[in-house]
Each structure stands twice: as structure tokens, then as C-alpha cells.
């Protein structure tokens, strides 16, 4: 793989077992994402966007085919190895924020660095929270923050481990327009300033248009949308 390829997917198929029998969600997907690229995955509800995102990030194991993140081939790894790879390469921003309710904003942001055993976790977290404009909210708990603030904390957390790739699942899905715009701006600014690859699942066409590329998910197949 060329040094500037961040993600390479070949012949990816994924089948899940449900009450009504086996259901193939992803059917023979091939794609590549280059380093520092921003890519939007769009498509209707239930088309398999989030499943693809989960597999790309190594949160689940695909049924067949290969997913390669830099030098990591997820399908050949144990959960232990995939977790290490996530810690090393990947950052996440979720639709429902997923901050740990028992931790303060600063502690949530410190987590990825702490997991790596970084001694400067607190200082780095303070800097990141300042970047997202929340230096006055360090010791607030998630339930004391608004939705927009929670998502900004989540973005700060996502960048805390200096990820090479940032996965975002409907990052503005639970936010109003004003907060949504603020979050998007932050996401792209940080993406550019840190040279991160951005892979985003979204319903929002405007947001998708801001990305370098758009991939359309439909009935388990992925096609490139012409810009």
C-alpha cells in the first residue's frame, strides 16, 4: 500500500444473523481513502452506513474480505490487537456524544491519553478544551452541559490521542443548526490543522458537500458520488 493510503477495503462483505435469518448488509465493497482526505458516507436509513463505519474503525469483524488501516489488517487481528490499533490510529465522534457520565469534561478528554499511559494527559486535555472553547467548563459533568457543549467535549476527546483517522457518526444529528455549524467548523479545522483523515457518516447534504469526496451507500453497495 502506498504510504499515503489510510484505508483500503477489498471485497468487503458483512452478514448478520437475525430472527428472520441471515441478512447481508454489505456486499462486496471496494474502496480506498487517502491520508488527510475527508470523506462523507451518505445514504438512507438502514442502508448500512453505520455498519461500514464500525467495520472500518475495527469495532466489529467483517464476514469476508479485507479492511486495512495503514499496516493493520483488522480481519486477521484479535480484539486485543484491534483495540490497540484503535488507540493508536483512530478517533471517534458519535451522534449521541457518548461521554462517560461519571467523568468531568476534562476527565473525559484525558481518557485516550491516559489509556496510552501519557503523563501529560491533563495538560493536553486543557489545551484541547480551550481549542473547542470550553476552558470554562473543565470540571462540569456531561449532564451539566448542553448538547452542543457535550459534542465539543467529544471532539476534543477524539483528537486527544492524536488520531490519524477520525470517524464521525452523524456528528450533528442531535444538534440544532447553530451548534451543528460550530461543531462542523471545529471538526474541519482540527482535521486540517492536525492533518487527520476524516470519515463521516451523515444525512446532512450540506455537511457532506464540505468533504473532499462523497460515497453513497445503497442496498449494501458503495458508489462514488460525482462532485
Amino acid at each position: 500500500m502506498a504510504s499515503n493510503t489510510a484505508i483500503k477495503v477489498s471485497n468487503l462483505t458483512h452478514t448478520v444473523t437475525s430472527n428472520t435469518g441471515d441478512l447481508t448488509i454489505l456486499k462486496g465493497i471496494n474502496m480506498q481513502i487517502q491520508e488527510s482526505e475527508s470523506v462523507a458516507i451518505v445514504g438512507s436509513s438502514g442502508s448500512g452506513k453505520s455498519t461500514l463505519l464500525g467495520l472500518l474503525a475495527g469495532l466489529d469483524v467483517n464476514t469476508s474480505g479485507d479492511i486495512q488501516l495503514y499496516d493493520q489488517i483488522f480481519s486477521k487481528q484479535t480484539e486485543e490487537e484491534r483495540a490497540l490499533a484503535r488507540g493508536q490510529y483512530v478517533g471517534f465522534v458519535f451522534q449521541s456524544f457518548h461521554l462517560l457520565p461519571s467523568l468531568q469534561a476534562i476527565e473525559n478528554v484525558m481518557l485516550p491519553a491516559e489509556l496510552k499511559g501519557d503523563k501529560d494527559a491533563r495538560k493536553k486535555a486543557e489545551v484541547l478544551l480551550e481549542k473547542v472553547g470550553l476552558s470554562h467548563r473543565l470540571t462540569h459533568y456531561p449532564n451539566q452541559l448542553s448538547g452542543g457543549e457535550q459534542q465539543r467535549v467529544a471532539i476534543a476527546r477524539a483528537f486527544a490521542s492524536n488520531p490519524k483517522i477520525l470517524f464521525a457518526d452523524e456528528p450533528t444529528g442531535n444538534l440544532d443548526e447553530e451548534n451543528g455549524n460550530l461543531v462542523i467548523k471545529l471538526l474541519f479545522d482540527l482535521n486540517q490543522s492536525q492533518g487527520t483523515t476524516l470519515v463521516m457518516v451523515t444525512h446532512d447534504n450540506d455537511l457532506a458537500k464540505m468533504c473532499d469526496r462523497q460515497l453513497v451507500m445503497s442496498a449494501g453497495q458503495l458508489t462514488e458520488k460525482a462532485l
Binding site: 453505520s50 463505519l53 464500525g54 474503525a57 469495532l59 466489529d60 480484539e79 486485543e80 483495540a83 490497540l84 484503535r86 488507540g87 493508536q88 483512530v90 471517534f92 458519535f94 449521541s96 457518548h98 462517560l100 457520565p101 461519571s102 467523568l103 476527565e107 481518557l111 485516550p112 491516559e114 489509556l115 496510552k116 499511559g117 449532564n143 476527546r157 490521542s161 457518526d169
Partner: protein, 819 residues
């Protein structure tokens, strides 16, 4: 500070770990406090009984005590003393009297003290020493029979001894019933000089031992296998049936209480663990997305649990220790003697309970937690399935194991486990039918009834589980209350304050009038007089007893010795007719003795009375309350069968401490009458029963408090869903009263059914416990059937409403954001 502990501190702040810690503290604390307290009570009983035995343990032999027994005692760091008892003639002032003489070594008694007096018929003072060589202590009766006083000389065989005290009570002989000869005690050093013990003499040699329990146990292990015929090992609890019985039952109760505490602890741990895991599922998934490996998470949780165990068990042990100290100090005002100190060595029980509870309830859930897929973060609504069957199974087996360790047996744990399994089935069946019925009878959401009943069915599985927890806790409470009440009532009924404490034997017919007159003057209460003739059953239904039991082994009590026979026209006090006609011309047999000998109505017994054979059919069977302390008889014959034989009469009297001295003085006028004082034993039993009753009530209180905490924990564990629903209802415009009513209906119904099923379970368990564990008669407990549902509705609804009060007060917006 490591990541584990930083995470742990943050978890502590949020309260999740705190719930788990609290459950562990309750678990360890309850078991520790009850375990230690039971231990102290047991030690105390042992000490009190040891006073009656004059030692912690005793070996009795018909031959002189071998030297190696004493050497082994020394080797095991045990103290020992010797007592040699025999019946011999004593001479003084040309009078002679058969007496029961003990020669004791200087260390005697190892426990308790002699009661002696310097005045004839005095009530005595304690003296923890033995007669000096050359001296003898004689009972007041012996002194009056021989007409001697302090300072006089008596001859025992070839030796002459000087009377230095009047003996009131010998600490080691108070229960050797029917040793009717008057007593005396001398120093062992003078024994050889008497020359009264010759080969073939009937002598009882005793080696008395005292020391640490473990050393005594080692000694027992060493000596019991080598005991021959005529040699017996005795412990205080074997001392006399009454004390043994009473303590045995109390120990069974306390053990039961402890076992129930173990179950409650288990339930508390299971609830707290499952709450912890539920609340951490998403956290673990998020941590995994952030790069936490299963190995790291495993290590983090293991370290957290370990730290939690160390802290929780530490606090639990401390709290447990403090609680049992508190119980003991509350009891100290009520008890006649101070409780012995608790042994630190017993603390392991509480720690082990905590550890095993964590292993069986926490670890399997944690193992599951670590396996959760990180994908859950993208599918927040996807159900996270726990393999609950395996987890319950592990918990169930663990709990059974814990109970087995705790009770050192399988019977009680098996009864309890079977009961819990049965209850689980019953809960599933009744709950399912009732909740479904409730749902089908209501639809809509216009009243609290409809909403409450609907949510019972909607959350069927969690509600059934909660119903099971409620049922278990209420059932355990009912069982304890039931056992406690029947035990205490049974004891108090057994031993009224004025139970007779002396027997009068060997009374001739012409002495009855004068004795009646004297006792009436003194105001001493006395039972009826019973004529007594000695006889032995020799043939039962044409088969001789000798051919039935050639070696005497396994012989029922009715056949193994000469019995006291009596006649009477009326059933005595404490006797109840079970079958037949008491006035018929035949034998009336005591029920237990008849059962043991396999006898029934119409069977024919031949009794040898002074060489004459009397053959009669059994015409009635009766029960006897042996605790009544009235003269009681296995066999009562018709008057016609006995009236021609010379009879002695027997009666029992109650002599209060103030009446004792005048009573003994009066009875000295009847030197041939034998008096047996059982008052000391009775008093001991009464003291023990009094202490036990109070102790049991306190233990019960402790368990109930722990039970209430577990109930609260259980309600809290399902609170979030209820709060969410309540908040939604309020957002939709429901008045607080409607929400309250719905909660009341839901918790009230859960409480009612829990109480009802608990009553069924408790009644069944009580039957099993009464019959198999306490060896008592089974009885029906109507109160439980009222108490169960009542406690259920009141307590559960109160706790439920109390725990959910936030939903009624806090603005719904805040609640929804918190959830």
C-alpha cells in the same frame, strides 16, 4: 496514581462503585457480626455448662486413669484435675451412713466453684478450692444423719478426717441425678490411706480437662479412638438433656439466622453487581473505542474489584465487629454473666463470605462486561444480552457452597436452596399469571391503576426478578419470626419460674401427713404424692427382652433398666392422653418410649416386680411434659396390680432461695427421706433461656435491618426505568398524584404477591425446619399469612414511593437529562 485507581476514584464519586461497596460492607458486616456474636454466645454457653461439668471436657472411666492420659494432657498444654467418686460408709459418734464420697486433686474444680457454708443448712458461698489433706466437707444432711458438726472427726475406711465445711453444691455433680446418698468431698491425697477402694469396688474415675478449644479438640481426636467399654468422653453440651437441647436449638436458630444473613448478603451483592454492570456497559464500549484492550479492561476491573474487596471487607469486618460489640453491650445489662471476648480467628468467615460473594456474583458479570462489543456505541438501542442463566447458576451454586461452609453441613443449605428454587418457580408462575391478568383487565392510561398494572406486565422479566427478591427477603423474615416465636414460647412454657426444684424420695406412707403439714406451714408448693414401686419389663408380646437384645445394644429405654412404676386414677399434670382409656385395667405407656420400643395399643408386657411377674396389655398411650419437673413415669399400672407391693412415695416441691434453709432444717427431721436438688440445673437452664431469648431477638432485629437495606437496594436497582417513565408521564401532563398512584399500584402489587408467596414458602420451610432441624412438632402459623402480604404491601410500597420521590418533585426536564 495508576489509571485503574484514577478511574476507580471517579467511579466512586458517581456512586456506582459506592453501591457495590455498600453491598459488600453489608454482606461482610452482617455475616461477621452474627458469626462473632454466635461464637460468643456459644463460648458463653460452654463456659456456663463447663461450670456444671467443673471442666471444659471430661473423660470418665471405671478404672484408674492411665498415666499417659495425663501426660498427653500436659503435652497439649491442658490443665487437668482428677476426681474419684464412690459410695462408702462413713462413721462418726457410733452412727454410720452410706454416702457418696468424692476424692479430688488440688486443681479441682477447673471451672466453677464449690458452694460451701459454715452453718448447717446454709445456702452457701463460692469457694474455688478443695478440702486440705486431712479434712472433709460433708453435706448438711450427712452431718445431721451422723450428728456431727464442724471440727468433729469422721472415719472413712482406715482414715480419720476432720469436718471443715458443710458442702452445699459440688460443681461437677449437680446433674448426676438420682445419686441420692448424702455427699462428702475429701482430698485425693488421703484416698490411699482409707483403703476403701479394693479390686472390684464400684468406683468412677474422672479426668477433668481445661484449656484452649483447639487443644481440647486435638486431645479429643487423640483419646476418643482409644476409649474402651466403661470409658466415656464428655463435653459440656452433652451435660444433661435439657441444657443440651436448649443450647442445641438456640444454636440451630442462630445458625439459621446466620445462613439467612448469608443469603441476604448474596442477594445484595447480586443486585449491586448487576446494577454496576448495567451502568458500565456503555462505559466499557466507549473505552474500547478509545483503544482500551480487553486485557487492560480485565486488569482494570480485577484491580478495582480487588481494591474494593480489600476496602469493603475491611470496613465490613470493622462494622461487623462494632455491631456485635453493640449487641453484646445491649445484652450485658440483661445477662447474668459477661459474654466471653469474640475470637479474632472467627473473622475469616465474614471475609470469606465477601470474597465468595464477589467471586460468584461480581466476577461472572464483570467477565461479561469486558466482552461487550465496542460496536454497541453505534447501536445504542441494541439490547445488550447477558447470559443470565449461567450467571444465576453460578450465583446459586456459590450461595449453596457458602451456606455449606457456614453451617458445616448440607441439611440446612439443602432445605434453604430447595425452598429458594421452589419459590423461584412459584414466583414465575404466580407472577406471570397475575401480571398478565392485570394487564388484560385494564387498558388506557387514565388512572394510576391502569398505568401501574400495565407497567407490571410490560417489564415482566425484571418485575418477576424483583418479585423474587422481595419474596425471598419477606420469606426469610417470616421464617425467622416464626421460628423465634415458637422457640421462645416453647422454652417459656417448658420452664415456668416456679417449676419444682427438689424431689423428695423414699417417703413412707406414714411420713406423708407430717411432711405435708410442715411444707404447708412453710408455704412451699408441692406436687401430688406418687407411690413408686421398682420393676423391670422382661417380656414384650411373648418375646423376652434378653432374646431381643442379647448384647444390650440399641435397647430402648423402656427395657434397659429397672423402672419406677406408679399407679394413679387420674392423669397427672403435664400428661396428655393420646390413645385409649387411662382408667382401663391395663398399662399406660409414655408415647416416646412406646414409639422407641415399637409398642402399640393392645401389646402385652410382662413386668418383674420383686420377683413376681405382672402381665398386662397396653390400654393407653400418653405424652408427658418432661419439662414440668413433676414426678413423671414411663409406665403407669392399675392400682390393683401394684397395691400389694411395698411402695415409697415421691413428690416434687418448689423451694425459693429464702425458703431453702428452713426447708432443709425441717426435712432433717425425716432423715430417711432423700432430697434431690435440681434447682441449680434448672436455674442454669432458665438463665441460658433468658439470655438466648434476648440474644435471638437482637439477632433478628439485625437481620431485619439488613433485609430492609436489601429491599431498598432492590428497588433502587430498577428505579431508573421507573423514573424515566414517570418523567415522561409528567411531561405529557400527568399530575403528580397520578404518577404516585401508578407507582403505588405497581409496588403495592409486587409487595402483595411477594408477601403471599413468601407466606407459602415460609410455612413450607418452617415445616421442614421444625421437623428436620429443630426436631420439634410441626405447627401451622396463621399469623404468617396475614403478616406476609401486609408487610409486603406496606414496606415495599413505602420504600418504593420513598425511593421514587424525585420523580414527583424534580422538574421532568432535569430527570430526563440525567437519565
Amino acid at each position: 496514581m495508576s489509571f485503574t485507581f484514577r478511574l476507580m476514584l471517579r467511579d466512586l464519586r458517581s456512586g456506582d462503585l459506592l453501591t457495590l461497596l455498600l453491598a459488600l460492607v453489608i454482606s461482610v458486616g452482617t455475616v461477621t457480626s452474627i458469626g462473632l456474636f454466635i461464637d460468643r454466645l456459644q463460648l458463653s454457653f460452654e463456659q456456663e455448662s463447663a461450670n456444671l461439668l467443673a471442666a471444659d471436657r471430661l473423660v470418665r472411666s471405671d478404672d484408674a486413669i492411665p498415666m499417659n492420659w495425663k501426660e498427653e494432657a500436659t503435652a497439649q498444654s491442658l490443665q487437668y484435675a482428677e476426681r474419684t467418686s464412690f459410695t462408702t460408709m462413713m462413721f462418726a459418734n457410733n452412727a454410720l451412713q452410706l454416702s457418696q464420697l468424692s476424692a479430688v486433686s488440688d486443681a479441682y474444680p477447673l471451672k466453677g466453684a464449690y458452694l460451701v457454708d459454715d452453718e448447717l443448712f446454709g445456702t452457701g458461698y463460692g469457694l474455688a478450692e478443695t478440702p486440705k489433706p486431712g479434712k472433709v466437707w460433708v453435706s448438711s444432711r450427712l452431718a445431721s444423719l451422723l450428728n456431727i458438726k464442724l471440727g468433729d472427726q469422721v472415719e472413712v475406711g482406715d482414715a480419720t478426717l476432720v469436718v471443715s465445711k458443710y458442702l452445699v453444691r459440688d460443681p461437677g455433680s449437680s446433674t448426676s441425678a438420682f445419686a441420692i446418698s448424702p455427699r462428702a468431698v475429701m482430698n485425693m491425697a488421703d484416698l490411699a490411706a482409707t483403703n476403701v477402694i479394693i479390686p472390684g469396688s464400684r468406683v468412677r474415675y474422672s479426668l477433668l480437662l481445661a484449656g484452649e478449644r483447639s487443644n481440647l479438640d486435638d486431645y479429643e481426636q487423640w483419646i476418643v479412638p482409644q476409649l474402651k467399654e466403661g470409658e466415656r468422653w464428655r463435653t459440656p453440651t452433652q451435660q444433661g438433656d435439657r441444657i443440651g437441647d436448649t443450647i442445641g436449638r438456640a444454636e440451630s436458630f442462630l445458625l439459621l439466622a446466620g445462613t439467612l444473613a448469608v443469603i441476604m448478603s448474596g442477594v445484595a451483592m447480586a443486585l449491586a453487581s448487576s446494577r454496576f454492570v448495567k451502568r458500565h456497559l456503555m462505559q466499557v464500549a466507549i473505552l474500547k473505542t478509545l483503544g482500551a484492550t480487553p486485557k487492560l479492561l480485565g486488569r482494570v476491573f480485577f484491580q478495582q474489584l480487588f481494591a474494593l474487596f480489600v476496602v469493603g471487607a475491611g470496613i465490613g469486618l470493622g462494622v461487623g465487629w462494632a455491631i456485635q460489640e453493640l449487641i453484646a453491650s445491649l445484652l450485658s445489662g440483661l445477662m447474668s454473666t459477661a459474654l466471653p471476648e469474640p475470637s479474632v480467628g472467627r473473622l475469616w468467615l465474614g471475609a470469606a463470605t465477601g470474597l465468595i460473594s464477589m467471586l460468584v456474583f461480581c466476577f461472572p458479570l464483570m467477565a461479561h462486561l469486558i466482552k461487550i462489543s465496542p460496536l454497541s456505541v453505534l447501536q445504542p438501542n441494541a439490547k445488550i444480552e447477558l447470559n443470565t442463566f449461567v450467571i444465576y447458576l453460578i450465583g446459586f451454586v456459590g450461595m449453596y457452597g457458602l451456606m455449606c461452609i457456614y453451617t458445616k453441613g448440607f441439611l440446612l443449605p439443602s432445605i434453604m436452596t430447595a425452598a429458594i428454587a421452589g419459590i423461584a418457580l412459584l414466583v414465575a408462575a404466580i407472577g406471570w399469571v397475575a401480571f398478565k391478568l392485570g394487564r388484560s383487565l385494564t387498558s388506557g392510561a387514565t388512572s394510576g391503576w391502569q398505568i401501574g398494572l400495565a407497567s407490571l406486565y410490560r417489564r415482566l422479566v425484571p418485575n418477576l426478578f424483583q418479585l423474587l427478591v422481595f419474596t425471598l427477603i419477606i420469606m426469610l423474615t417470616l421464617i425467622l419470626v416464626g421460628v423465634k416465636s415458637s422457640l421462645i414460647a416453647d422454652w417459656q412454657q417448658q420452664l415456668p419460674e416456679d417449676a419444682p426444684n427438689h424431689y423428695l424420695f423414699n417417703v413412707q406412707a406414714n411420713q406423708i401427713g407430717p411432711i405435708n403439714e410442715k411444707t404447708e406451714q412453710l408455704g412451699v408448693a408441692k406436687s401430688d404424692w406418687y407411690p413408686m414401686v421398682r420393676g423391670r419389663v422382661t417380656i414384650a408380646n411373648d418375646v423376652t427382652i434378653e432374646s431381643m437384645y442379647p448384647d444390650g445394644r440399641g435397647e430402648p429405654e423402656l427395657y434397659d433398666r429397672e423402672l419406677n412404676l406408679t399407679w394413679s386414677d387420674t392423669l397427672g399434670k403435664g400428661n396428655e392422653l393420646v390413645e385409649g382409656d387411662f382408667t382401663a385395667e391395663g398399662l399406660s405407656v409414655e408415647q416416646r418410649a412406646a414409639k422407641e420400643a415399637g409398642l402399640k395399643m393392645g401389646d402385652i408386657l410382662t413386668i418383674n416386680i420383686g420377683g413376681n411377674l405382672v402381665t398386662l396389655p397396653i390400654t393407653s398411650i400418653r405424652t408427658v411434659d418432661w419439662g414440668s419437673m413433676q414426678p413423671n413415669f414411663y409406665l403407669i399400672l392399675p392400682k390393683s396390680a401394684l397395691e400389694d407391693y411395698p411402695a415409697n412415695f415421691v413428690s416434687s416441691v418448689f423451694v425459693s432461695p429464702e425458703e431453702a434453709q428452713p426447708f432443709y432444717q425441717v426435712m432433717a427431721e425425716f432423715p430417711t427421706v432423700s432430697i434431690l436438688n435440681v434447682g441449680d440445673v434448672l436455674k442454669q437452664v432458665q438463665t441460658i433461656i433468658g439470655q438466648l431469648s434476648k440474644a435471638i431477638q437482637l439477632v433478628l432485629f439485625c437481620i431485619l435491618s439488613a433485609g430492609a437495606l436489601v429491599l431498598l437496594a432492590s428497588v433502587r436497582s430498577t428505579l431508573e426505568e421507573r423514573l424515566e417513565e414517570g418523567a415522561l408521564l409528567r411531561v405529557l401532563g400527568a399530575r403528580a398524584a397520578l404518577v404516585r398512584q401508578a407507582l403505588l399500584v405497581e409496588f403495592g402489587a409486587l409487595g402483595f404477591f411477594a408477601g403471599l408467596i413468601a407466606a407459602i414458602g415460609a410455612e413450607t420451610c418452617l415445616y421442614g425446619l421444625q421437623v428436620f432441624v429443630f426436631n420439634a412438632e410441626a405447627s401451622f402459623h396463621p399469623l404468617l399469612w396475614l403478616l406476609g402480604p401486609l408487610i409486603g404491601v406496606l414496606v415495599i410500597a413505602t420504600i418504593g414511593i420513598f425511593a421514587s420521590r424525585t420523580v414527583l418533585k424534580v422538574p421532568p426536564m432535569l430527570l430526563l437529562r440525567d437519565l
